[in-house]
Amino acid sequence: MNDVLGTRSWENFQDILNGAVGLAEELKPLQQFVLANLILLGETPAPTFGEERRMQLLINRFSEVGLQNVENDDKSNIFGVLHGSEGKRNIAVSAHMDTVYPDSTDHTISVQPGLVTGAGVADNSLGLAVVASLPDLLNRLNIRLKNNLILIGTARSLGRGNSEGLRSFLSNYKLPVHAGVCVEGVQLDRLSHASIGIIRGEVLVRTPEELDWNGFGNTSAILTLNEIINKITDIPLPRRPRSSIILGQVRAGAAMNKRATKARLGFEARSESAGIVREIELRLKEAVSEVASKTGDDITIDIFSTRQPGGISFGHPLVRASRDIFDALQIKPRYEPSTSDLAAFIDRGIPALTLGMTTGSNLQMDDETIDPGKIHLGLAKLLSVLMAIDGGHCEEH
């Protein structure tokens, strides 16, 4: 496992660590490939369930960079294979294509020294751009892995998508996947090796258009929703296993001077324990039923996304190797449990990680921002992890 020039080796794990900083330096001038892909992909809207245009662009890019067997499936996933020199095992590298932004959002990306701004640049146009750039980067660095690299742009990852794209891919792909890496735009210090249990959903309150002065219902859907929120905040949560309920989004009403007849609450409940997640779900449903029976309002709860907790352990060779690589690059890892596509790998027992590519801020706002000056570190981290997997340094014996 030496490159063509004979200067890079990943037969020995120590060689990967010794070469990590040099690799980051080599990647600095190649960051432009990632930035160009970021502009081209990121300026093409891809709301969840509406990823087709971005998918088409990625098909072209995968084909242009020489991936074999480039295909899309009925879930709008795109995948292609970079054949390894031996091709005995298959390493999947995925990034979700979809974003939280509707078509109507201005997707223009602004590039300035030290700052790239635009809707979705961090979550997850950068991650996708990295996956699209991988064949070019490996080629220019003369790195040819011995195992196959399966590159995937996944659809239907976020929100109601519930990682449907990656789950479907892993269920139906014709070859076994031996390891997986999910690529996210941010954060650079992110090292996710476990997924927490999650339920995501929406509470919808509807009150009659015509106000019934004699009824017991609230005069506004907002007030009813407020009662539900009070009940949710009363749900007891243990400190261990760690658990939380996030009330992430409220939409209600049409105007300041008009009684709100509809109110929506978007929520996510998380726990390290599957039992607690089930308990929270039960309590949420009870809260909704109780308020509905008291007010007479039409209230529904729709839980559209569920994930089981799990993952590989902190001591798994893949995590251990990744920690060492972070150390070699002087990045202090932050062990953040994943709430995204990683669960799809975990559910199938495939050792996998999520890695972030750079630092960023204003996530899921119209002015999402990343620091392009650190992408080379994210790339060096990703390539080093891939070489470690390829070299057999991440397997449990």
Partner: protein
């Protein structure tokens, strides 16, 4: 009259393209190399530090490193007060201050000056000019313009046209723009050079030109540069030298009406000079170079005078340094 209609129809059919006609960049690179062509990109700038990085990184990555269609990216600046040149250089462009090129010549300032000096500074057989303020920049802005010239040696000048939404307050409109074109340029072309009315957006700032044509024509340094190109090339080579390519949307900064008035004033000067030279009309008076616009201040109208002279540079081929640099006897 029937001939003109027929000529325009024939020309439109034969010489109007869509950028997707040139999607196969690998094939285009092969064809470029087969003809031994070199291609330079010139981006004229003035205070574009917020926009320039995106253009440079995209064109360099896609059209130099991935598909070697262009051989150099040069930013030629009129004297920005911001960090335009530093940013462009940081992202890999060659950067020049227009006044540093042929520095012994009397200094002139204007976009046309940058375009003219690019002929001396850049090495390409074809020079592509692209403005720096395009927010939806894409490689099609280059390959769409180069395409007709790579496949058709007789084409010497390719002009872009667009559906032009205007971006001012973040609102994107499905059509619009080209106000000076529709109110001034196309009507005067229709009166005096009717075939040129077939050029859908004669004032667009994106075009590609072969060097042998470019160095043969004079350059107004201000608003009239595009108009004069079209008239001069038409007179010398006819419509067959032109092609035009639909580049879809171009999102750019909107200009206030008064700025368009100044542009129209400059274009008219250039046009009248050309039409006079070609004996299309006789201007019997010396032109006044003051444009007066008006604004309301404290309840009364105020005159705002703009002194606009469409100064011109001579054909580059007449400059001794150019002849020497390019080995022209």
């Amino acid at each position: 009259m029937e001939d003109i209609v027929k000529n325009i129809e024939t020309w439109l059919k034969k010489n109007t393209y869509h950028h997707s006609d040139f999607w196969d960049l690998r094939k285009m690179v092969e064809e470029k190399e087969r003809h031994g062509l070199t291609i330079s990109l010139c981006i004229p700038t003035l205070n574009e530090e917020n926009n320039i990085a995106k253009e440079v990184v995209l064109f360099r990555s896609e059209l130099i490193d991935r598909y070697p269609l262009i051989d150099e990216i040069a930013v030629i600046d009129s004297g920005s007060e911001d960090r335009t040149l530093e940013v462009a250089a940081e992202f890999g462009a060659d950067t020049y201050l227009a006044s540093d090129i042929l520095p012994h010549l009397e200094s002139k300032r204007g976009k046309g000056e940058n375009l003219w000096k690019a002929i001396y500074q850049l090495k390409g057989d074809i020079i592509v000019y692209v403005d720096a303020d395009i927010t939806n920049i894409h490689p099609r802005f280059i390959y769409g313009l180069i395409g007709p010239m790579i496949y058709r040696p007789e084409v010497g000048y390719v002009k872009a046209f667009y559906d032009r939404p205007l971006s001012d307050t973040g609102i994107v409109r499905p059509s619009g723009g080209g106000r000076v074109t529709e109110i001034l340029t196309r009507p005067i072309f229709s009166l005096f050079y009717p075939e040129l009315a077939a050029v859908i957006q004669p004032l667009s700032g994106e075009y590609a030109v072969r060097r042998h044509i470019l160095h043969d024509i004079p350059f107004p340094i201000g608003y009239g540069v595009e108009t004069s190109h079209l008239i001069d090339i038409y007179k010398k080579y006819g419509m067959e030298a032109f092609a035009q390519t639909d580049l879809d949307k171009r999102v750019h900064r909107n200009q206030p009406t008064q700025a368009l008035g100044r542009m129209a004033f400059g274009i008219l000067q250039t046009f009248l000079r050309r039409a006079g030279d070609h004996e299309k009309l006789l201007v019997q008076t010396e032109l006044n170079h003051y444009l007066r616009q008006f604004q309301v201040s404290k309840g009364s109208f105020e005159q705002v005078e703009h002194f606009i002279v469409e100064d011109e540079r001579p054909p580059m081929i007449t400059i001794p340094e150019y002849r020497e640099k390019f080995g022209l006897s």
